[in-house]
Symmetry: C2
Subunit: 323 residues, 2 copies
């Protein structure tokens, strides 16, 4: 018998710096209502869903504080939690977490009863600590956030969702196969991802545009879903946010890596799909039966090294180079 879960991607258009929290909450509740109206049991919101993507700016310490949530839930977001519990809808949401003086780029998944099922803190912080001189756009996540310290903790969804094994990533994490594999090794059946991805290269490169960046985003989710035999819901905050472009392309991807639904706008947009969690089984039992086919004795470099180390040059090359 199939294990059907109705999931939704709740893509958000931009949150301008000047937008009030009340207005942003109202949009999120509207997206939740729309998804619930289409039968969704689990709604995925973006990374840093309650605010603008503030790491694009060099801010003063006092300015930064206002973007962080000292607790979750808290009075500023309570209306979303209440509406979700009323409708018995769970959700994933990303936010800037202030935790005893430490700051994380965090996501949580809330169950249909309002209980928090899992928490994740972004491990792969992109960007830099210091602004890059002369660059129009900055990416200062390494300045404002501590590196996630929870690893990649898979967790169980409730019985009314058919007991799925769930995982969470935040934005840039989705490009790192190590992160997916750590969840794959816990048997996950559904990966939840929120992102804010620039429509230009946020690292200062010049060869990437919006179409290519959207392609990268979808490609990474498709292949890592396939290689770990899991469903994935990957959700953008999109559009022109405070003068900086963010890609859209929110998508729901099956364990074959096939896109089953994808956003077509850069605004608030809901995608809903009925997914069969048992569609993961063929991959997990056959091609990606890890116990049968993985060879960790050859993977040591993945944990023993951080950066790339070129192989030794053959003598002939050395001689030629030094000649």
């Amino acid at each position: 018998m199939p294990r059907i879960l109705h999931v939704a991607a709740a893509q958000m258009g931009p949150n301008q710096r000047a937008d009030s929290r009340t207005d942003i909450l109202a949009r999120m509740i509207e997206l939740l209502d729309e998804a619930a109206g289409q039968g969704a049991q689990l709604v995925v919101f973006p990374e840093l869903a309650f605010t603008t993507f503030f790491p694009r700016w060099l801010l003063q310490p006092g300015e930064v504080d206002g973007y962080f949530e000292p607790a979750m839930p808290n009075p500023q977001v309570a209306a979303l939690f209440e509406r979700a519990r009323e409708r018995r809808v769970g959700f994933y949401v990303g936010f800037a977490e202030l935790a005893e003086g430490r700051r994380f780029n965090t996501s949580i998944t809330v169950g249909p009863d309002g209980r928090t099922l899992g928490k994740y803190r972004k491990v792969h912080l992109p960007g830099s600590v210091e602004p890059r001189p002369g660059d129009r756009f900055q990416q200062l996540e390494k300045r404002y956030f501590d590196y996630g310290d929870l690893g990649f903790p898979a967790f169980w969804g409730p019985a009314e969702w058919h007991d799925p094994v769930l995982g969470m990533l935040v934005c840039n994490d989705r490009r790192w196969p190590e992160a997916w594999r750590c969840y794959g090794l816990q048997g996950i059946e559904l990966m939840l991802i929120g992102y804010n991805s620039a429509a230009y290269d946020p690292n200062g490169g010049t060869s990437e545009n919006e179409a290519l960046r959207t392609f990268h985003s979808t490609l990474a989710v498709q292949a890592n879903a396939y290689m770990n035999a899991t469903w994935a819901v990957s959700v953008a905050k999109a559009g022109n946010e405070d003068g900086s472009g963010l890609i859209g392309g929110s998508c729901i991807v099956d364990p074959n890596g096939t896109v089953v639904a994808q956003a077509t706008t850069l605004g608030d947009e809901v995608l809903v799909a009925a997914i069969d969690l048992d569609a993961c089984r063929q991959g997990k039992e056959k091609m990606f039966n890890f116990a049968a086919h993985r060879r960790p004795q050859h993977y040591r470099a993945i944990v023993d090294q951080i950066g790339a180390v070129l192989p030794p040059r053959p003598a002939t090359t050395d001689e030629r180079r030094s000649a």
Copy 2:
């Protein structure tokens, strides 16, 4: 100044069991000539290029021996090596290697001077040791081959190729991100892959067909090329081989994961592309600057575990399940 290398995918149609080695060599030389005529400096042939894909059958020990090469080169393949050296073309080729009683699914890359630049032995052997009772098709690589014992050894190409850092995989390896990452951690700029992939699920699953299997093959190469900022040339033996279908879809993929050329037939077919090895630099220096962004302290499960281990169930789930 760009570092341009002209590479070719030399997709092969089927090698029937009844085909003579002379006939197969003649086809390979024709493909090599065609690629060289289009300017190719490096030609990639498939996995087990000199024979039919014999692991689909349960064979007697005496029958198996005939598929293995006791040395490389050897008189049965010398004509290919000679023609390549005459034309100053290098090549990747896959073959069944007999090495002091051990048997590997091996590939080598030969330089334009005929010297072997690198050797790789397939780490991710798919299939089973014993035939699956009742299944029409078998996949017995685990029976006929020892697991590769060389790890993932990147190596340098010659100066006339602009000193590229090269890597090799064989078939199923391309679906395993650990293998790509071990090469990525050596700074590879060009991955060479040969494959024989069934047009049905060789593991006995029932939900995969030729189109989906070809999609998987291309997707895995695209995303892993992107996530390791490397070029890739991935080459099939394709078509109806001794009554079993093999997918085609040979492709040349850039460091953005974009397919720049792809085969359209299931027969002998040559693709040639001029690739700029420096196109890897943006990825290696920005998004996938491993030294800046990887967090190996959180990747331990990749080497500490082989198979998947589910997370602990919350008490409520346990109680419900046992109720």
